[in-house]
Every structure is written in structure tokens, then in C-alpha cells.
């Protein structure tokens, strides 16, 4: 109808100019949008007119450049360096698997691997279960619940250094916890002096900081659990605990798997908590070093062994990737 003549006018003139012109041109177009578009509109506005071939690449360019230069290139160069003896200021030579065989005899590596693995074993179950219980607690919309939800999220917002320092003071020999323990007659506990208690304290801090984050994830999952299931179960005489196991847990299981995957990858790569609480060396003799701390210590500085640090990084990659695949596969198996 009138559209074939109207289109060139709007396309050529006002759009390229000011916004007001475009709006004036848009009004006659609105009737046409549903009328003549399928047969005439598409063929008359050919694909090439949507944008120039280079346009998408210009749009993507900033992100692509940054991601390639500072994520993908370092990733590839980590893989390559792991087979060399590169040092911070000295170009490396190909050494084959020497870095990896050295690792097998390196006590520091095994200590790091042990601590990172232990970290995961303790932290992940706590972060899968406790935030779910917390979400159940704040799920019901009783007065003031918004305040409690926000308050429980506060540790997530604070930086890990701040959180670490707060707990260093809480767990200090003369800090709040120990003076309470002393007041009730238990006596002082060396949370920050014993190597195992120190690691355990760092794990506690990780869980403490993560609670609110995973609570929110569970909260959105709980919103999708049909109320009828709970009602049917309670009609059948199931108590609260029983309903938790037979209704809530199956309904949020995929979220639990997700939380398990996220938290296990994060726990295995732990750095800041232990660095802040145990010091850069990971305790007096380095007994509390984690793998990422070892990477940082080995690879930085003027004499940093970039090659060896890269090899340890590769182990970190392989394990985190393996963990993710393992968790996702376990999920699929249960589905089948």
C-alpha cells in the first residue's frame, strides 16, 4: 500500500539525524509493521542493509581484544611455559616434562595439593548444606525478613582481606572468642598458632563469607518448589524433617549440584583467606600453603621460576576442570 513509498523516505532522511526526526518518521511506520512486512518488508530490506560486514567485529572488538590479550593468551602461554625453564627475566628453554617430574619430588607441592584438597573436602559440604538451611530460615516472608536477608549477605560484600583481618582479631589469643572461652572455663585455644587449627579457621572464614551468597541462590530455587508438594506430604503425616528430605532436597537438587560445583572450584583455588590469616609464607614453616599460594610464591619476584609455577598452574587447571566435569556428570547420572 503506502509502505513501499514511505520506506525510502524514512530510511534515507531523518533517522541518521536527530532523535525527534526519527520519532516523527516512526509513527506512519507503526501501522505497516504488522501489515506488509512478511512479504514485502523483508525482501525490500535485504540482509546486507542490516549492518556492514565489519560492524559486528567493531562491536565485539574491545571485549575480544581484552579477553584474547589478558585471558586466552596468558592461558596458552601458561600451558607452553609449563614445558620450559623460563624465569622472570630470562627466556626459557624447552625442558619437556621436567617441571612435572620435579613436582613429584617437591614436598612444597604435595603440601599445597594436600591443603587445597582438604580445603575442598571440608568447605564444600558445609557450603552445600548450611546455606540451604539458612535459605529455609529466611524463605518465609515474616515481618523484618528483608532486613535479615540483607544482614546475612553483608559478609559477601566485604572484601576477603577485611573478612580475614576481622577473624584474625576475633580468633586472636587475646581476642573475643578466646576471652569468652576463658570466661566459661574452657581456656584459650590457639586458633592461629596450630597449623591444623589455622587451616580450619581459614576454612571457617571461607564458609562464613560464602553463606549469604549461596543462600540467595537457594532462595531463588526454593521459590520454585510447588507448595502443593509440602501440603500433600504434611497431609500424609510427614514431619518437618521428613518433608525437608523428601520434598525440599529433591526439588532443589540441581541447585545443590550447582552450588557444589561452584564452591568446590572456588575452594580448590583458595588463596586470600590463607594468605591473610597465615601470612605470605603460609605459616612459620609453610605447612598451610595452598597450591595457588605456591604458584604466587614460585612465579613472582625477580628470580621467579615462571616455568615451574606454570606447571603447577596446569595442575590447578586440570583439577578444577576435572572437578566441574565430575560434578556435572554425577548430576546427569542421577537424572537418568
Amino acid at each position: 500500500m503506502s509502505s513501499p513509498t514511505a520506506r525510502p523516505a524514512t530510511a534515507a532522511g531523518p533517522v541518521a539525524g536527530a532523535g525527534a526526526g526519527r520519532e516523527a518518521g516512526a509513527r506512519p511506520a507503526s501501522g505497516r509493521r504488522f501489515g506488509s512486512r512478511p512479504p514485502g518488508g523483508r525482501s525490500a530490506a535485504p540482509r546486507a542493509r542490516r549492518h556492514l560486514p565489519s560492524t559486528p567485529w567493531l562491536f565485539a572488538a574491545p571485549g575480544l581484544v581484552i579477553v584474547c590479550a589478558f585471558v586466552l593468551y596468558p592461558f596458552v602461554s601458561t600451558l607452553v611455559d609449563s614445558f620450559t625453564d623460563r624465569r622472570a627475566l630470562v627466556a626459557g628453554h624447552w625442558v619437556g616434562l621436567a617441571n612435572f617430574t620435579e613436582m613429584l619430588h617437591d614436598d612444597a607441592f604435595w603440601i599445597g595439593l594436600r591443603n587445597s584438597a582438604l580445603y575442598m573436602v571440608v568447605v564444600v559440604p558445609a557450603l552445600v548444606v548450611l546455606p540451604l538451611l539458612l535459605a529455609l530460615l529466611v524463605h518465609k516472608k515474616i515481618p523484618g525478613i528483608g532486613f535479615f536477608r540483607s544482614a546475612f549477605y553483608t559478609p559477601v560484600v566485604a572484601s576477603i582481606v577485611v573478612v580475614g583481618l576481622i577473624w584474625v582479631w576475633m580468633l586472636d589469643d587475646r581476642g573475643l572468642i578466646n576471652s569468652v572461652l576463658e570466661a566459661v572455663g574452657i581456656g584459650k585455644v590457639g586458633f592461629l598458632s596450630d597449623q591444623w587449627l589455622l587451616l580450619l579457621s581459614a576454612m571457617f572464614v571461607t564458609v562464613w563469607k560464602g553463606l549469604g551468597y549461596y543462600m540467595i541462590i537457594y532462595l531463588s530455587a526454593l521459590a520454585n518448589v510447588p507448595r502443593e508438594l509440602h501440603e500433600a506430604a504434611s497431609v500424609d503425616g510427614a514431619g518437618a524433617f521428613r518433608r525437608f528430605l523428601t520434598v525440599t532436597v529433591p526439588a532443589v537438587r540441581s541447585t545443590m549440584v550447582l552450588v557444589g560445583a561452584l564452591s568446590s572450584v572456588a575452594a580448590f583455588k583458595v588463596f586470600s583467606e590463607v594468605y591473610v590469616m597465615a601470612g605470605p609464607k603460609g605459616g612459620p614453616a609453610g605447612e598451610d600453603t595452598t597450591l595457588v599460594m605456591l604458584v604466587e610464591r614460585t612465579g613472582t619476584g625477580l628470580t621467579g621460576r615462571v616455568g615451574y609455577a606454570s606447571a603447577i598452574s596446569v595442575v590447578v587447571f586440570v583439577i578444577t576442570l576435572g572437578l566441574m566435569l565430575l560434578v556435572l556428570r554425577a548430576d546427569r547420572k542421577e537424572d537418568a
Partner: protein, 306 residues
């Protein structure tokens, strides 16, 4: 244990006169009445968790306000400072240039917000709304980049920075995370949800890709953009590992690195460290208090789509 039982039993009795009114008001989201005893148990648990999550912050604040003559190690502990003073805050700025560090953190965080919003929106638009050969490959590149663990590549990133001559600069702190792959994919998802018809209509009207992006797509994804902005700010303000590696000159420290240095050097001066941590955490708590709905949205979206 006994106190809990006492209170659960006492609460409904104490509220005797208002009971009828309460009954009708206190219902859950499905309109079912919440039993009074259940309510009391819930609030007791909530207060207990509150003490555990917020208590340590309050204790730190209290410590930072205690003067030099007050005993901070007393048994039993004293929760309120008897003579609150800001003395420790002026001391901390005399010990380390804490306001410079805060300013450095602010510069890095603001730069991160701007670059992430712009870069992620542009790239997200390119992989969601434009059609061309290589789009799927481009999407795959960003997905792979998202899966690369940052902790595993920091050494190589540092080598890259050094070869660019950007180690020990704030620009070097900003660059690696300035357009996060995760944010690009978040923006892509937001753009994908916009109806195709609007785009078609704009094409018919002769709008080019840039105009469709700025005038139609971008205003429709403000919510996701806010999420990206907030998490970019928080992530960069709280970041520790990367600034620790890339910065060596103490005049360029960000707040987290400065705090760690303060703790390492003046570990015995608890009031001083407490004041420093409060300075670092207050801006984020304020930000969170003002914009919490975006924080919660971001966690949900990041979790489902990440």
C-alpha cells in the same frame, strides 16, 4: 535450651490482647497462618545467625573506637567502648597513606565499571543481535575465556604486563578484568530476551546497528547493566591476588593490599588494623544498602547462567 522453651511458651501469652489481630496479619506468602511458637523459634534463630554474621563487624567497629587507655583484651569482653574516639582513624592515616589507597581503589573500581559496562554491552550485543559468519565462534571464545580460572594465569598475566611495561601501574591493575567474559555473556542473555520484532521494525525504519544498540537495546537492559556495574565495582574493590602481584611500589597500593601491609607491619596494634578495615568495608556496605535488589538479582543471574 530452657530459655528457648520458656520464651516460646511465654510469647503468645504476653501478647494476649493483640492475639486476634496478630493471627490475621501474620501469614506466609501463601496466605497460611504462621503458628506463634514457630514464629518465635524463627526469630530466635534469625537473631542467632545475625549475631554470627554481623557481630564480627560490630566487634571490629567497637575495637576501632576504643581509645588507647581502654583495655581491648578484657575478660569478659566489653562490647561498647566506654569513651568512643576517632583517634585510631587519624592514627591509621598517619601510619599508611590510607586515603591515597582508598582513592587508588576508587579509581580502579570506577574504571572497571565503565569499561565493563561499555565493553560487555557492545560485545554482548554483537553476539546476541547481529547476524554474520563467525558469531558462534565468537560466542565460544567468550565462553572458553569465562571458564579459564584467573588464579591459574596470574603469573602469565604478570609476564604480559611486564612486557607491556604496565607492571606496577594502576592501568595494569585494571586491564585484565576490564571487560569480563562473564559480563559479556550476561549482557548477551539480556539482549537475547528482547523481542525480535522491535529490531525488525527499526531496520525497516532504517536504523543502523549503532542506533538500534543505543536507542532500543541498551535502554531495555538497564537492569542487567546495573548488575554488571555493581559486581564490577565490588569485584575490583575487593580484589586481592592480582593487585598483590602486579603492584610493588607501596605508593600505588590499593586498599586491600595496603590493609594486608598494615596487618603485616602493625599486627599487634589491633585498634589500628580495626580502623583500617572499617575504612575499607564501609563504602561497600553503603553501596550494598542502597542497591541491594541489584546485588540479589546479580547473584541469581550469575548462578543460573554462569
Amino acid at each position: 535450651m530452657t530459655t528457648v522453651d520458656d520464651r516460646t511458651a511465654a510469647a503468645p501469652r504476653r501478647k494476649g490482647p493483640a492475639r486476634g489481630a496478630r493471627r490475621s496479619r501474620l501469614t506466609d506468602e501463601h496466605g497460611r497462618r504462621v503458628a506463634p511458637w514457630e514464629l518465635v523459634v524463627r526469630y530466635l534463630l534469625l537473631v542467632a545467625v545475625l549475631a554470627l554474621t554481623v557481630g564480627p563487624f560490630v566487634w571490629q567497629l567497637s575495637t576501632s573506637l576504643k581509645g588507647p587507655t581502654e583495655d581491648i583484651f578484657s575478660t569478659p569482653p566489653k562490647f561498647l567502648p566506654s569513651h568512643p574516639t576517632l583517634h585510631n582513624y587519624s592514627r591509621v592515616s598517619g601510619t599508611i597513606p590510607v586515603w591515597n589507597y582508598a582513592f587508588n581503589s576508587l579509581k580502579v573500581a570506577v574504571a572497571n565499571v565503565v569499561t565493563n559496562c561499555l565493553g560487555a554491552a557492545l560485545a554482548g550485543y554483537a553476539i546476541a543481535r547481529l547476524r554474520y559468519r563467525g558469531r558462534r565462534l565468537l560466542t565460544l571464545v567468550f565462553i572458553v575465556a569465562m571458564l579459564v580460572p584467573v588464579e591459574g594465569i596470574v603469573i602469565a598475566q604478570f609476564q604480559t604486563m611486564r612486557s607491556l611495561g604496565l607492571n606496577n601501574t594502576l592501568l595494569g591493575v585494571v586491564l585484565p578484568g576490564c571487560v569480563g567474559a562473564m559480563n559479556i555473556l550476561l549482557m548477551r542473555n539480556a539482549f537475547l530476551h528482547l523481542p525480535q520484532e522491535v529490531d525488525e521494525a527499526a531496520i525497516v525504519d532504517g536504523a543502523n546497528a549503532w542506533q538500534r544498540f543505543t536507542r532500543i537495546a541498551l535502554p531495555s537492559v538497564k537492569g542487567t547493566l546495573a548488575v554488571v556495574a555493581i559486581f564490577a565495582f565490588m569485584g575490583s574493590w575487593d580484589d586481592f591476588l592480582w593487585p598483590l602481584i602486579v603492584l610493588s611500589d607501596s605508593s600505588k597500593f590499593t586498599l586491600t593490599i595496603g590493609l594486608n601491609y598494615l596487618h603485616g607491619t602493625f599486627a599487634d596494634d589491633q585498634r589500628l588494623v580495626a580502623a583500617g578495615t572499617i575504612i575499607a568495608v564501609v563504602p561497600l556496605i553503603v553501596l550494598f544498602a542502597c542497591l541491594q535488589r541489584f546485588f540479589f538479582r546479580g547473584v541469581g543471574e550469575g548462578a543460573v547462567k554462569g
